[in-house]
Assembly symmetry: C2
Amino acid sequence: MFAVIMAGGSGTRFWPASRPHMPKQFLKITSDRTMLEETMARVSLFTTLERTSVVVGQIHAEVTAQLLTGTPVQAIIEPTGRNTSACIGLAALHLKHDPQAAMAVLPADAFIANVNAFAASLKAAGEIAQTGAIVTLGIQPNRPETGYGYLQAGEARGAAQGQTYFQVARFVEKPDALTAVKYLANGDYFWNSGIFIFTVETILQEIETHLPELHAGLCEIEKAIGTTEYEAVLQRIYPTLESISIDYGVMERTSKPIYMLKTNFGWSDVGSWQALYELRTEDYDANGNLLLGDAVTVDARNNLVYATTGRKIALLGVENLAVVDTPEALLIAPIERSQDVKKISDLLKK
Amino acid sequence: MFAVIMAGGSGTRFWPASRPHMPKQFLKITSDRTMLEETMARVSLFTTLERTSVVVGQIHAEVTAQLLTGTPVQAIIEPTGRNTSACIGLAALHLKHDPQAAMAVLPADAFIANVNAFAASLKAAGEIAQTGAIVTLGIQPNRPETGYGYLQAGEARGAAQGQTYFQVARFVEKPDALTAVKYLANGDYFWNSGIFIFTVETILQEIETHLPELHAGLCEIEKAIGTTEYEAVLQRIYPTLESISIDYGVMERTSKPIYMLKTNFGWSDVGSWQALYELRTEDYDANGNLLLGDAVTVDARNNLVYATTGRKIALLGVENLAVVDTPEALLIAPIERSQDVKKISDLLKK
């Protein structure tokens, strides 16, 4: 089984800690390791790092190379981001020497609490993918979340490694608040984790069928793999590929079976400082402060501090604040407003 | 007329901007000049800078020398702080060549809005001091302040330069809240500005009478003035002088007349970040933010930012916060809690 970690994100949701050159997957926010390192550690529970690749943008090639030093993990560079269809297609080209092998594609910047349960699901998914199906992981929701897409589970289709898998009845966009409540009550709706498992051959066939122009571009690139021309061809072709998500480009169009496993291993895409704060309850101090940095508090409750400057941070009498202290900038906002940091970064771009 | 600016304070109330090596009088908080520079500018309206001295602690000699570069102002160094009686006595020694001249002693770290009214009061006070009296300035209170000492005004005793002066009935300690309300309603109570005016001869006589040991020490130092021994004698004697305020040491004991002028020139001792915020209403942005630094705001109201790091500071959705950003430390507190910063600096000392 191959693992392909998609680390191409350029997120701004963790501004000012995340910047174009240092997006979320390279931040030490969920632990004292970067999210990419956490993801690699998790991947090593269901496959070997020799069979693991990281797809990453050109501007992050250097920081990625540093993180991969001493590991057998291969970096696959995207000259520019072209969405997940191109990303997965490019990775599949590099794995085409073993077309019957399952490949799991997964984002580099998600949090998973129970990594053993996660690995067990991936192993089952790899087995199911050998049938030629596309497999995805649905996450049992525990709240009416409006920030995620959903999978509606259909009928059970079988079992692998003791785990029942189900037909995906449909992919659903992020719902409004009322719909999210209904989904939660219904019980058939699961969060779309963005994790997919298929064989190399299956996904390349699907791209050829449903995204023929993109596939043609990939074939150009494929010819150059292993030659001195690779870099130049990649730079020329890749930026011209259609930018479309795998959900739209393949999942909504395919005639292959799409199966899902119902999982409940404590997943979060950690989409904001608030999400991070809510995730790390075990690291709170006695007053509910999550202090990731050199902070002292007096009469301060339920604050999040994330600091990379090494400066002393003193919180006196404040509550529910996110304080993000980096060499370039300082953010202070109520934790529940932290999803609005884009307003600040937009303002600064002007 | 001489001016003696007392710049020996070591305040911690503006932590983390104020530190032992950089107390309030050296901060640019009331304008884009330091408070000491503001005080010198103000002094130059009633006397010349040639007749101005700054008394300053040894550890601030260097920063003071930088500020005085290019001015004729003389620095008088205290090896250690020994309170205002010793400070004023030391300054008077250096002015003893003109014993009949009035000397105004005033703190380096007060704010005054109407500097012309201030200068007019000082000129009148200088004239009154020529009679051998001790003169002080009472500040018309505009709120029941519990953070200041008060002067109770007695009967009118005369006028100088069109300004009536009054007997000081008594010096009063900082009152409790109820007493402060009574003082405000009474109308005879004025804030004690800590500004005194007397002739050089008068204050030295008073020190000799009421603080004879301190005076004896000063005489030892006096003999060394103008010799190569001065520095060594000062280092040896000054730290042994009694540490007592001029209020306790002289004002409460003197049999000389103590007069006061009733003034109303917009005075504040700027005792906290809150006091500073309340002072600088003219510098607020449209949302009541006082932004002394490179700050951007979104939905943020009535905040104070004071920053010396040059970093971008982003306030999103917060209100009534003091944010003090320095290379060593960052403080975040509600403005109304800013008088409690001592709790933080005490905690950090442990």
